[in-house]
């Protein structure tokens, strides 16, 4: 294991993890404020990837277009902001139609409603763009950065920079602005916040707006990073992002970011586990070390094994606090 390779793998893991973290934020914000696991969130992310493709198409960008300079920057900004906006509005509409009428129902009702919305969004994606993989225009130039002996793909750096900027902005917004304070108040005690004059419905709508907007941004940068999307991608990525939110302590923003990045890093580092079937596998007392077909194939199992270990010792996640018993 060379140092260069380790560093390259860490960059890849960080980029993957940053996307998970952006989506995990949406899960954790909604859970924090109304204690609902918003199963539709992953599919909002999927809609974000499709909306980005549609906007790029409207701007005349196809699979093989390679805009440069100012055109590239403006095209990327328009597509990213457009995806954020469409997803944010979609999130608010879903909250208004599918969750708000059920807010005082037993907790299983909105949960089932969320699963229903998830399936509806998947079917919409299928109707809109079909059942097979569709390509995401690779507009970002294929820059290769050489840092010392390490070569890094430029798009990885872009993904990391954009994701962390958005996360820092969100953190500042929640901790410094009056809306952020109101969000924290509603999360702590909805009734008391309402008594203090906070418009609870509005704050919850804003939470969905921001959470879904981040998923829209994730949809755009995911497309740049991976180059294709499909209608069920939201389920697969959403499951990992939800796990990240639980990992970090659901309801805790910094926890979700940490969880996402850690899962990305674990997933990437798992590829270092050697293939026990290979003829050159390392041995210990004559027994081959490693996993069949190498660690990469086992990354999900490894992530969940670590998750179980952490939850056994810290049931509320890495940064989660034991929520006070609600009366």
């Amino acid at each position: 294991m060379s140092v260069q390779l380790l560093f390259q793998i860490l960059v890849v893991g960080l980029a993957t993890g940053a996307i998970y973290a952006l989506i995990a934020l949406g899960y954790t914000m909604v859970y924090g404020i109304i204690e609902l696991i918003n199963f539709a969130h992953g599919d909002i992310f999927m809609i974000g990837t499709l909306v980005s493709i549609a906007i790029l198409g409207l701007l005349g960008i196809s699979r093989d277009s390679h805009p440069t300079g100012l055109t590239l920057v403006s095209v990327m900004l328009i597509a990213c902001l457009g995806s954020i906006l469409v997803c944010a509005v979609l999130g608010v509409v879903i909250e208004r139609v599918a969750y708000r009428p059920l807010r005082n129902s037993p907790r299983l009702a909105p949960l089932i409603s969320a699963i229903g919305v998830s399936l509806i969004l998947e079917d919409l994606g299928k109707l809109w763009k079909g059942v097979s993989y569709i390509s995401f225009p690779q507009i970002f130039p294929q820059i290769t950065l050489n840092v010392g002996l390490v070569t890094i793909s430029g798009v990885n750096i872009l993904v990391i920079v954009v994701s962390f900027s958005l996360m820092i902005a969100l953190q500042l917004m929640v901790s410094r602005t009056s809306t952020g304070r109101a969000m924290r108040a509603v999360a702590q005690d909805r009734e008391a916040a309402a008594l203090m004059g906070v418009n609870v419905d509005r704050i919850i709508a804003i939470t969905f707006f921001i959470g879904a907007g981040l998923a829209g941004a994730a949809g755009f940068i995911y497309g740049l990073q991976y180059g294709s999307t499909i209608f069920y991608i939201g389920f697969q990525i959403g499951l990992i992002a939800f796990t990240a939110a639980v990992f970090g302590g659901i309801g805790n923003l910094v926890g979700a970011m940490l969880g996402g990045v850690l899962i990305g890093l674990i997933e990437a580092l798992a590829s270092f586990i050697p293939d026990a079937y290979a003829s050159d596998a390392p041995t210990l007392f004559g027994l081959p070390l490693g996993l069949p077909h190498g660690g990469a194939a086992w990354h999900e199992a490894i992530i969940f094994a670590i998750l179980i270990l952490i939850l056994v010792f810290r049931p509320s996640g890495l940064l989660g606090q034991q929520a006070p018993e609600k009366v």
């Binding site: 060379s2 390779l5 390259q8 793998i9 890849v12 893991g13 980029a15 993957t16 699979r63 093989d64 097979s132 993989y133 569709i134 390509s135 690779q138 294929q142 290769t144 070569t151 890094i152 793909s153 798009v155 990885n156 990073q225 991976y226 180059g227 294709s228 499909i230 991608i233 697969q236 990525i237 997933e267 990437a268 580092l269 798992a270 590829s271 270092f272 293939d275 079937y277 290979a278 069949p292 077909h293 190498g294 990469a296 194939a297 990354h299």
Partner: protein
């Protein structure tokens, strides 16, 4: 309750009526021709292919090919004193795609018509599984232009057809071969891909990824075996489940081993597209070739990947006749009747299948076999069909797709794998362009 009874009544009366009409239609073409006791001067050659719905583009060009062969034989009086009748069947079901149940019903009805001497088809291996037990018991010869599943004809461990994959007792209940095919089987794809990459492209070090499914693992293992035997180095072999979304970490690891190419065993949808795309995010792999089987050779793969990154190759188990000069006469004849736009690689395959049946009928008659009296002459039909099957088994036929003969399993001895490369077609769109053919020894 009342209504359901009337429905049952309607069914009990309707179904026999329908059957009677079908039988009437089937025999209508032959009545009047069989006046002597020396046997019918009309013999039918049938097809069973998916020619409607979503499968039209697959089956119709093949059906046309077989039809052309029958028409030409009649025109040239290839078989003296015999008029051939083309009897096409469609195995598309209610879902709009090929349906094994419809295929089984089709061949059952063809078996019931003693004048049918052979069937060209089916197109899909799943349909073949439903039809083969029926035609084998008749017996009635079937020649498929397109079935590539190796387990239809073999039950060896080498082909991966043992245990649950051993279908031979079900598909060949009489123990005798009545099903033939001129398509090369899938188990030759991996070795052909290995030979092409090692010998033609001169790539010595590859990394292999498969999708952890039967097809992907099978084709990858066959590839690794042949590539190593050729003298190449396989740097590693990973199995990544089709649900994987991110291959970049694995690809970064692979890049550190400096491969000259990557081989992917699997489908476009179980990782093929993602691996090709994510190779572009790893600088060292950006322009590396990717090889694979027919699972990659899809329109979706071509339109999603486009012409970005390194070259992509795929093997397909058919003889490509859409561009070769040797097939030009056939293409011209076909184009004059059905239009050049309706030609596919399976047109020539089905044309050859029908011609093999025609030649077998001729040989059978020359060897003293008698045609059945009429459609209801089951005993005469059985004897004649058996003679045709024997003639096919020992045939030596030079067709558009090359020299065709059959081994003891009914597989062609003309094992050709075509290599396709992702490139721009005549209109500039990304498409799978025929490169060359590899003959499997």
């Amino acid at each position: 309750m009342k209504r359901s009874w009337s429905r049952i009544l309607a069914l009990t009366m309707g179904i026999p009526l329908l059957l009677a009409m079908l039988v009437a239609c089937g025999s209508g073409t032959t009545t009047g021709t069989t006046t002597t006791t020396t046997g019918s001067t009309t013999i039918k050659i049938a097809t069973d292919l998916p020619v409607s719905g979503k499968d039209t583009s697959s089956g119709k060009p093949a059906e046309n090919g077989a039809h052309l062969a029958v028409d030409q034989a009649n025109k040239n009086h290839t078989i003296p004193n015999i008029t051939l009748v083309f009897d096409p069947k469609d195995d598309v079901g209610p879902a709009g795609i090929h349906d094994p149940a419809v295929g089984a019903a089709n061949v059952t009805s063809l078996v019931g018509d003693a004048l049918v001497a052979g069937i060209v088809g089916p197109f899909n291996s799943s349909v073949a599984k439903a039809e083969m037990p029926i035609t084998n018991q008749a017996p009635l010869a079937q020649i498929s232009p397109a079935n590539t599943n190796q387990c239809l004809t073999k039950n060896t461990a080498e082909a991966g057809c043992t245990g649950a994959n051993n279908l031979i007792p079900t598909l060949r209940p009489t123990g005798k071969v009545s099903y033939f095919r001129i398509a090369t089987t899938d188990d030759h794809q991996g070795p052909a891909g290995a030979d092409y990459m090692y010998k033609t492209l001169n790539l010595k070090k590859v990394y292999v990824i498969d999708d952890a499914e039967t097809y992907g693992i099978g084709i990858s293992n066959a590839f690794v075996k042949e590539f190593t035997a050729d003298g190449g180095t396989v740097l590693g072999h990973s199995s990544e489940p089709g649900s994987t979304t991110s291959y970049t970490a694995l690809l970064t690891q692979i890049a550190s081993k400096s491969p000259e190419a990557i081989y992917f065993g699997g489908l476009d949808s179980t990782g093929g597209i993602l691996v090709r795309q994510q190779m572009q995010q790893v600088p060292a792999l950006r322009n590396l070739p990717l090889g694979g089987g027919d699972g990659l050779v899809s329109n979706t793969f071509a339109s999603t990947i486009g012409l970005n990154g390194g070259s992509t190759f795929g093997t397909v188990a058919v003889v490509d006749t859409t561009t070769s000069t040797s097939a030009k006469t056939f293409r011209d004849q076909y184009g004059a009747v059905y239009g050049a736009a309706n030609l596919s690689v399976y047109s020539a395959s089905a044309y050859d299948c029908a011609n093999i049946i025609i030649q077998a009928i001729k040989t059978a008659l020359a060897n003293g076999a008698h045609t059945p009296q009429n459609s209801n002459d089951a005993a005469g039909g059985k004897a004649f069909r058996q003679a045709v099957i024997s003639a096919i088994q020992s045939i030596s036929f030079d067709g558009v797709t090359g020299h065709q003969a059959f081994d003891a399993n009914g597989d062609t001895t003309n094992k050709v794998i075509s290599i396709y490369q992702l490139a721009a077609n005549a209109t500039g769109k990304p498409d799978w362009i025929y490169k060359t053919a590899v003959t499997v020894s």
